[in-house]
Symmetry: C2
Subunit: 423 residues, 2 copies
C-alpha cells in the first residue's frame, strides 16, 4: 500500500520519522508494506532533520491526488483551504484519508463524512483530538456498546501548562504565558489556545463521536483562562481542595445536552485534577463501563505522528471496514441553553473594604435566589480594595450572571468579578 | 450475526443486560443485527435479575459449539477446563471467540492463537485485562506504530482498594481486608488477588501484546501486599511523598526485559499514585507517543460486560480482519534476572532500641555496597522494639536481599524486614 503525505511540517516530519524508524514493526503488524511514496509541501528545501529520499518530494498536491497508486492520503497542512479541497478530492478519487485537522472537521464534518461514505473509503482522524492519546478510537469502538453519559476533557496543553505553573510556582497568568511562549508551549498569538477555541473544536468532534450530535462553535459557550489570577488558584487549592482546569464538557441529562468550554474548579479527588503540565486527559462516563480516563501528550511532533501512523495501519488492516464514526443514532433530544445550566460556583470579586459593601453584595445574590455556601474576605485597611471569595450552592448560570452584573455595578466593587463552575 | 454465550454468571448477566438495553445502538453502529441466540450454563434456574427468553437457555455447550448458525462464542466460565476445550472447539468449528479468561490466556496463549489463525477466525479478549478499560485494543492497535518501552499497571482492584483504605483511613491490612470481604470487594479466599497472582496473569497478557514475549508465571517474580503495614504507608506518604501501589511492571532496557509484580512506592507526582480504590490504571510508554495512561473500573459486571460486547461488535464489523495480537515481532533479546534489577529501595525493619544496633544494620548494607539515602528511627524507650525506616540509593535487588537476610539475623532485629522498590 502506498501513502502520500501532504504537509511536511512538524508533524509531517514526525510521520516520516516513524516510517523510517519502525518500518519493520509496521510491516509485521499489518502484513502490508506501507510505503511513503510521495511527500508534498510548498517548501521542499528546508531540512526537517529526518532522512528522506529527495526523489519523493514534490510541491504539487496533484502528484498525490491524481496518482492511482496512492491508497492513503495523509493531510497535515491544517486550516480550511486548501485542506478541504485536497481531502474531498482524495476521497472522490477513491483514496482513504488520514488527517489531524480539527478545525476542518469541526466545521465541515457532514460534507467530509458524506463524501467518504459515497466513495466507499475511510477517513480517520485520531490525531485531531488529544494528539497521541487514542481517545477517539476508544469512544468510537471500545465504548461502542455504551450510551455515553458525559465527557470532560483537558484537551489543550498550552492552557493546562499555564494553569499548572500558576499553581505550582505561584506565578501570575501573564508571567507564565511569557515563559510558555519562550519554551515553545504557547504561540506568539496565544488567543486560540488560551481563550478556549482549540478546546471547542476538539469538543465538537468528541460530541459527534460520543453523542452523534453536531454543535457548531457559534452555538457553544466558549470561555478561556486569561482572567484567572494566582489568588483564585491558591484559594481553590488551599481552601476548597480544588485545582483550576480549562474543561471541555459535554454531558447528557435526561436527553438534554449540556456542552461548553470554560475553566472549572476540579476537586483533588477527581483524577482530572492530577492531569498537569502540557498533558491532556479525557474523562468519559458510559452507562455500562462507568468512568474511564485517557491520558497522554495532547500535542507534539512524535505523539501526534504516532496517532497518524496508527490510523494508516488500521486502514491497511481493515480497508473495507464500514466503520461509522459516532454512535450512528442521535442520542440527544435537545441542547440546554447555557443560562439554564446549573452548578455550584466559585466567585471572586474585588471590593473596597468599607461598611455595608458585603451587605450590598449579599443582596444581589439574594434577589436572584442564590444561596451562599461560604464567604471569605481577607483583612485589609479600611478603604483598600480586597478580594472576596464566595462559594454558592447549586444555582443557574443565568441567575449567577445577573447577580454578577448587579454586583459589578456596586460603586465599591472594583474590576470585573470572576466566576467559575465547580465540577 | 448470532452470538452464543457460555457462562451465565455475573458478567454473563451483564452481557445479556447490554444486549437488552443498547440493542439499537449496537445495530446502528455495526450495521448488523447481533442476536444472542443461545445462553448456556449448568444452572439455568437461578434468577440473574435480567430479562431473558427461557427458550434460549440450555445446559449443554454443544448447543452453541455445534450450531452452524452461531458466529461468535462468548466464553465467560473462567478457569482452565472446560473453558479451554470449549474455546478450541469453537475456533475449530469456524466460530469467532470472545473471552475474559485471563488465566487461560496466560497459560495457553500459543495454542489458542494458533488455533484461531489456522481456522481463519478471530479471538478477542479485551475484558481479560482492566475490565472495562480499553487498554488491550490501545496497546494492540492505537499504539501499534510504537516500540513499547514500559508498562506499569495497577490492575487488581481488590489490592488497590485495600492499599487505598489503609492510606485514607489509617487502618491495618487485616482490618481493611475484612471490610473488603464484607463489601464484596475481596473473595473469601483473597490469596489470588492480594498475593499478586491475578496481577501476574494480566501482566503476562500485557507483555505479549506490548513486547511480543511470553513469560510464564513460574518465571515471574510475584509478590503481594499482605506484609505492608499502616506505618509503611504513612511513612511513604508523609516523609517520602509516595503512595504504595501493587504494580505489574514490564520495561525494556537495552533489549533486556524487566518484568514482575510487587508493591512499589509511587511518587505523588506520578499519575498512577492517584489511581485509588477499586479503580485500575495502566501507564504505557511508547517510543513515539510518550507516556499514556488508561484508567477505569478493572472489574465488575457492567464494565467487564461492556468490553465483551465491544469485542463482539468489532468482530461483527471486521470479521475478516487479519488482526495479529502483539507487535508481530519479538522486541526482547533477553529477560533480566530479578536479582539483577536495580532500583532505589524503601526498607522498614523493627529493632530493639539499644546501642550498636544501627551500627550493625549499617554494616550489612555497607558489606553489599548499598549506599543509604536516609534513615529514620522513631524514638522509644531503650529496650523496646521500634521501626527503622531506610531509603537506599539505587542498588541491585540481589544485594538488597542479601543485606536484608543478614539484617534479619541480627539478634535485636524482630520480625521480617519489608523492602519495596521506589518507582
Amino acid at each position: 500500500m502506498n501513502v502520500g503525505l501532504i504537509g511536511f511540517g512538524t508533524i509531517g516530519a514526525g510521520v516520516v520519522e516513524i516510517f523510517n524508524t519502525n518500518h519493520d514493526l509496521i510491516r509485521e503488524k499489518t502484513g502490508k508494506d506501507l510505503k511513503l511514496k510521495r511527500v508534498v509541501d510548498l517548501d521542499i528545501e528546508t531540512d526537517r532533520g529526518v532522512d528522506i529520499d529527495p526523489e519523493i518530494l514534490s510541491t504539487d498536491a496533484d502528484d498525490i491526488l491524481n496518482d492511482p497508486e496512492i491508497d492513503i492520503v495523509i493531510e497535515l497542512i491544517g486550516g480550511y483551504e486548501p485542506a478541504r479541497s485536497f481531502i474531498l478530492r482524495a476521497l472522490e478519487n477513491g483514496k482513504h484519508v488520514v488527517t489531524a485537522n480539527k478545525a476542518l472537521l469541526a466545521r465541515h464534518w457532514d460534507e467530509i463524512m458524506a463524501t467518504a461514505r459515497e466513495n466507499g473509503v475511510r477517513i480517520a482522524f485520531e490525531a485531531s483530538v488529544g494528539g497521541g492519546i487514542p481517545v477517539l478510537r476508544a469512544l468510537n469502538e471500545s465504548l461502542a456498546a455504551n450510551r455515553i453519559k458525559s465527557i470532560y476533557g483537558i484537551i489543550n496543553g498550552t492552557a493546562n501548562y499555564i494553569l499548572t505553573r500558576m499553581a505550582s510556582e505561584g506565578m501570575e497568568f501573564d508571567d507564565v504565558l511569557r515563559e510558555a511562549q519562550r519554551l515553545g508551549y504557547a504561540e506568539r498569538d496565544p488567543t486560540f489556545d488560551i481563550e478556549g477555541h482549540d478546546t471547542a473544536q476538539k469538543l465538537i468532534i468528541l460530541a459527534l463521536l460520543g453523542f452523534g450530535v453536531y454543535v457548531p462553535e457559534e452555538d457553544l459557550h466558549v470561555e478561556g483562562i486569561s482572567k484567572i489570577r494566582r489568588d483564585d488558584i491558591e484559594y481553590a487549592n488551599n481552601e476548597l481542595g480544588c485545582s483550576v482546569k480549562l474543561l471541555a464538557t459535554a454531558s447528557l441529562d435526561d436527553g438534554e445536552l449540556e456542552m461548553g468550554v470554560m475553566p472549572f474548579l476540579v476537586p483533588h479527588e477527581h483524577l482530572l485534577s492530577s492531569v498537569n503540565g502540557v498533558f491532556n486527559g479525557i474523562y468519559i462516563t458510559g452507562d455500562f463501563t462507568g468512568p474511564v480516563m485517557f491520558y497522554g501528550k495532547g500535542a507534539g511532533r512524535r505523539a501526534t505522528a504516532s496517532a497518524v501512523v496508527a490510523d494508516c495501519m488500521d486502514i491497511a488492516l481493515n480497508p473495507e471496514s464500514p466503520l461509522q464514526p459516532g454512535p450512528g443514532v442521535r442520542m440527544v433530544e435537545s441542547i440546554r441553553e447555557f443560562r439554564e445550566t446549573r452548578s455550584r460556583y466559585y466567585i471572586r470579586l474585588d471590593a473596597v473594604d468599607r461598611p455595608g459593601v458585603l451587605h450590598e453584595i449579599a443582596g444581589a445574590f439574594s434577589r436572584h435566589e442564590i444561596s451562599i455556601e461560604s464567604v471569605t474576605q481577607k483583612g485589609a485597611l479600611e478603604g483598600e480594595s480586597v478580594p472576596i471569595y464566595i462559594v454558592t450552592h447549586e444555582a443557574a448560570e443565568g441567575d449567577i450572571q445577573s447577580a454578577i452584573r448587579e454586583i459589578s455595578e456596586i460603586r465599591w466593587v472594583t474590576g470585573e468579578p470572576v466566576r467559575l463552575k465547580i465540577l
